[in-house]
């Protein structure tokens, strides 16, 4: 009988000890207030990045008439010097700037013939903006600054939303033959560089009739 009581006392003690170290209590409204303060605001982060990092840094984008010849002659140096990427894969992003003439207008993009490189065409997206090119091309956003990948991906989605609302409307007025200067993000495969189909996500455009 005595042994049984001791056994029960030990079990009760362990249960209480585990229980005490398992849960804690707080007022719900205090927790809610803390959570609201802590919640990551991807839209605000993206807007801040756009205003304070991306836009002021557009002049640092590599000129496409300089990049293309380098990619043809010394691709390794071009990728090392001007591309950014998160992982160790072959897909790399460049922030490019260029001038040219609108050569064609399709439903989803505007084809630009690059000044100084008449054979080189760049398609600038005018309809579908997705992916992480705009976020990653500058190399200014570090994944380690985020608590989880969902927040990081949401930043990309918000940057793309800004592009849709601020940049794409300007491209809707483009006409064949217009002069255009642009800055945009492009994605290239390091192992299979294909310069015949460069597609840019526009970050800034200026169209002159």
């Amino acid at each position: 009988m005595g042994k049984k009581v001791i056994k029960y006392i030990i079990v009760a003690f362990v249960v209480l000890l585990v229980g005490y170290n398992s849960v804690y209590f707080k007022k719900l409204d205090e927790v809610k207030a803390e959570q609201t303060a802590k919640t990551f605001n991807a839209a605000a982060y993206a807007q801040n990045f756009w205003d304070k990092k991306l836009t002021p840094g557009l002049s640092n984008a590599i000129a496409i008439d300089k990049l293309i010849p380098m990619l043809n002659t010394n691709p390794a140096q071009a990728f090392d010097s001007y591309s950014h990427a998160l992982g160790i894969g072959n897909l790399r992003y460049f922030l490019i700037q260029g001038k040219g003439t609108v050569a064609a207008i399709d439903g989803d993009d505007v084809t630009v013939s690059i000044a100084g490189l008449p054979e080189q065409k760049v398609k600038i997206a005018t309809e579908y903006i997705f992916g992480n090119a705009a976020r990653d091309a500058t190399g200014l956003i570090n994944i380690n600054d985020f608590n989880n990948t969902m927040d990081f991906n949401n930043v990309s989605a918000e940057i793309n939303a800004i592009i849709r609302s601020k940049v794409l409307p300007q491209l809707k007025h483009a006409k064949v033959g217009n002069s255009i200067s642009f800055t945009g993000a492009i994605e290239l495969n390091k192992e299979h560089v294909n310069l015949s189909q460069i597609e840019a996500v526009p970050v800034a455009v200026n169209i002159q009739p």
């Binding site: 170290n21 398992s22 849960v23 409204d29 205090e30 927790v31």
Partner: protein, 328 residues
């Protein structure tokens, strides 16, 4: 006459060490085909991967030893991982009393294991109380637990968990990954239970001959419920490890894990008709499955072919098991 006895002994010897021989042959074969296989990094990688399957398979072994089967372990794993992650991240909100109940890592883990045990208990209760065949009862639980996981997670992964919780699946202790420690403790506990306790002897007795066990005074229902409860709890432990490793509770986690654990049990020499088998055999079975998976990936074999190969290995194991039973 002597020659016949020698052949018989040789066969028994071979049957006893068949899993070990199979593992050795597999390792030699893969190490010849891939230079990345026999590396320390890969060995720890394999051990970490199989630790989840070992936890589940140990529970499955106890169930199979009683001539039962538990198809719900994968779903229980997912639910327990989700419950743990959900409690850790969101706690419980009691709007009416303006109260928030937060959970520490310990509390969330304990809650996950309690949920797993409860679902396992329910399996055992349904099987013993209503005489539902284990296959059907646990198949029902497979669906119930998966549905509950979807309801709990609303179909989305639960992410952003406590970094202390991540240590459970990714941490190291004395140079060995923590999941390996956990599975090691589970294995040793199960060996002690099966070899040194009354519960272990009763489990073998029920699997060997249920009627004889009943007539000898063993409370069959109690033992069966206990076994399914343990299997549920160990599936929950597997759920904690996998959730911690991924730092997220995926609603579709553990899909197909029941088959991997049954495969480990069968390859390890436990008879599906109960009463014969061992925990160490199951561990060997899990290692074989893990090495096979790892080897096929290293050899760049298509995932579709991997499934075919795994299925053939299980089939071969059952055929060998049948042949051994016949010889005995």
């Amino acid at each position: 006459m002597d020659a016949a006895i020698n052949t018989q002994n040789y066969r028994q010897y071979l049957a006893r060490f068949q899993s070990l021989i199979a593992l050795f042959v597999l390792c030699v074969l893969i190490s010849f085909l891939s230079d990345k296989f026999l590396t320390v990094t890969n060995a720890w990688n394999v051990m970490r991967q199989i630790s989840v399957n070992i936890c589940i398979s140990v529970g499955m072994t106890l169930v199979v030893l009683t001539a039962g089967i538990d198809l719900s372990v994968g779903s229980i794993l997912a639910l327990c991982g989700a419950v743990t992650a959900g409690l850790l991240r969101n706690g419980i909100e009691l709007q009416s009393s303006n109260l928030y109940i937060g959970f520490t890592v310990l509390g969330a883990c304990v809650a996950g294991i309690i949920v797993g045990s409860a679902l396992g208990w329910f399996n055992g209760w349904a099987i013993t109380r209503f005489k539902v065949p284990p296959f059907v009862a646990t198949l029902a639980m497979l669906t119930i637990a998966r549905g509950l996981t979807m309801l709990w997670t609303k179909g989305f992964p639960i992410t952003g968990l406590d970094h202390k919780f991540a240590f459970l699946g990714t941490g190291w202790f004395l140079g060995i990954p923590l999941p390996v420690w956990i599975s090691g403790i589970v294995v040793i506990s199960a060996i002690i239970i099966t070899k040194k306790t009354r519960l272990g002897r009763y489990i073998y007795a029920i699997g060997g001959n249920e009627n004889a066990a009943r007539l000898s005074g063993i409370n069959i229902n109690y033992i069966k419920i206990a076994v399914y409860t343990i299997a549920g709890a160990l599936a929950a432990v597997g759920g904690l490890i996998i959730t911690s490793r991924l730092d997220a509770a995926q609603p579709n986690a553990g899909t197909g894990y029941e088959l991997d654990s049954i495969a480990a049990v069968v390859i390890g020499g436990t008879s599906l008709s109960g009463g014969r088998g061992s925990i160490l055999g199951t561990v060997l079975g899990a290692v074989i499955i893990g090495v096979l998976n790892n080897g096929l990936v290293l050899l760049n074999v298509s995932p579709f072919w991997q499934q075919v190969v795994k299925g053939l290995v299980i089939l071969a194991a059952v055929i060998i098991d049948k042949a051994n039973s016949k010889n005995e």
